[in-house]
Amino acid sequence: MPQPLNYLKETASQTAGPYVHIGLIPAMAGFDIFEKNFSNVLVTPNTKGERITLEGRVLDGAGTPLRDVLLEIWQANAAGRYNHPADRSAGALEEEFRGWGRAGSDFDSGLVTFETIKPGAITDRTGRKCAPHVNLWIVARGINIGLNTRLYFSDEEAANAADPVLNLIEQPARRATLIAKRSERAGKIVYTFTINLQGPEETVFFDV
């Protein structure tokens, strides 16, 4: 017998369930409890960068929007810097911009929105250039382990074409499932996206 390695095992995931709002967004469950709440608004008046709305839905295998899903986003600031000590890239850090938010889908329409800024391009520690993107994490009733995916931006064609993660996707048609579409609505920049959990246009999910 060789020496034992003695690593611990990760705790098993369990579904967030239909009442995830109670714990993570209690106002949506219908009550007020915490003095300070997390939200889907990542920006303050001082945040640098282009204001954008991310707006999308998550569809099940029958094409029905999930109306009890919770999404979290994690992103760099406009200079391409994550607000975390492991990011030692050159872009300027903004203390006030955490770069994280969470949102529940609307109980009727299933729409999910975030108010944020468009992140800058990221330079990885190996010097790789990565196209601007937002990291997405999805939990809900019926989802046994959180799903990881990314949103890229439709107006970043050149950067997307060179992005090392998008290029890992063998089928060009599947790359398109990660691109949020830019439009203008009443003077605001809106990027829309659809997450398909199944079907011919199933979104690319990552084992990160």
Partner: protein
């Protein structure tokens, strides 16, 4: 699960001395998906239309996954870890008073410091304070059912609450959830993000729960069951249960070599 004879079990007794390499900020240990429930688990019917069918694309961790949101005491209020008081209107909530405590560790056995732990649960009758919950058991006017805590320097967290009740749900016509508390944990990087549920030692509903039994590995399932921890209880006030949570370990970067490929 051995439902007949729930031995008093200290999760640390079976645990060998942890191996602790220098803390790095390389990528996380590859997730062992064989201990997690599969996305498509037909016994839990909601998973059928909500499970991806394509293979997940394996992603070597980049800066986007190694980093994650940082939280501090400024994000929390003073009663956030006290579910007995944080929604009390005219008295304490009904139910068995309990303390839940434990450590958030990573797979190397190291405590995960200053990380946000959030929890939510039904009241003692099994009813959630949620506009979509219509179970006949009553809402408790003094119980909200959610809280949060930040781990200390060693990864330790604790909170006070009442023991949640089991409740029926629509899966089979007679499906009941064992008593449980939902947990959400962050870790230091977004790839460690985890949601899970804690169960209570000795609950006879554990072996027949369609959600719990989506976990294919018996040991992994047992690790979601918190033992009664009499030593941590408060005499004449509260029992205690211990629940440790393990997040993915992180590789050290010993040498700054570039790997081949992109």
């Amino acid at each position: 699960m051995n439902a007949q004879a729930p031995a008093l079990r200290d999760p640390r007794l079976n645990r060998p001395e942890p191996f602790t390499p220098p803390l790095g900020d390389g990528g996380f240990f590859q997730r062992d998906r064989s201990i997690h429930p599969p996305a498509h688990a037909p016994g839990y019917k909601s998973s059928v239309l909500r499970s991806p069918r394509q293979a997940l694309l394996s992603l070597e961790n980049s800066i986007s996954e190694i980093t994650g949101p940082v939280f501090g005491h400024n994000d929390l209020g003073p009663l956030d870890n006290d579910l007995i008081r944080n929604y009390a209107k005219d008295g304490d909530p009904v139910g068995e008073r309990i303390i839940v405590h434990g450590r958030v560790l990573d797979e190397t056995g190291r405590g995960v410091p200053n990380t946000l732990v959030e929890f939510w649960q039904a009241n003692a009758g099994g009813r959630y304070r949620h506009k979509k919950d219509t179970y006949v058991a009553p809402i408790d006017p003094n119980f909200g059912g959610c809280g949060r805590a930040l781990t200390d320097d060693t990864g330790y967290y604790y909170f006070r609450t009442v023991k949640p009740g089991p409740y029926p749900w629509r899966n089979y016509v007679n499906s009941w959830r064992p008593a449980h508390i939902h947990f959400s944990v962050f870790g230091s990087g977004f790839a460690q993000r985890l949601i899970t549920q804690m169960y209570f030692e000795g609950d006879p509903l554990i072996p027949v729960c369609p959600i719990l039994t989506t976990i294919p590995d018996k040991d992994a399932l047992d690790r979601l069951v918190a033992p009664l921890d009499l030593n941590a209880s408060t005499p004449f006030d509260s029992l205690a249960y211990r629940f440790d949570i393990v997040l993915r370990g992180q590789r050290s970067t010993y040498f700054e070599n570039r790997t081949a490929g992109n």
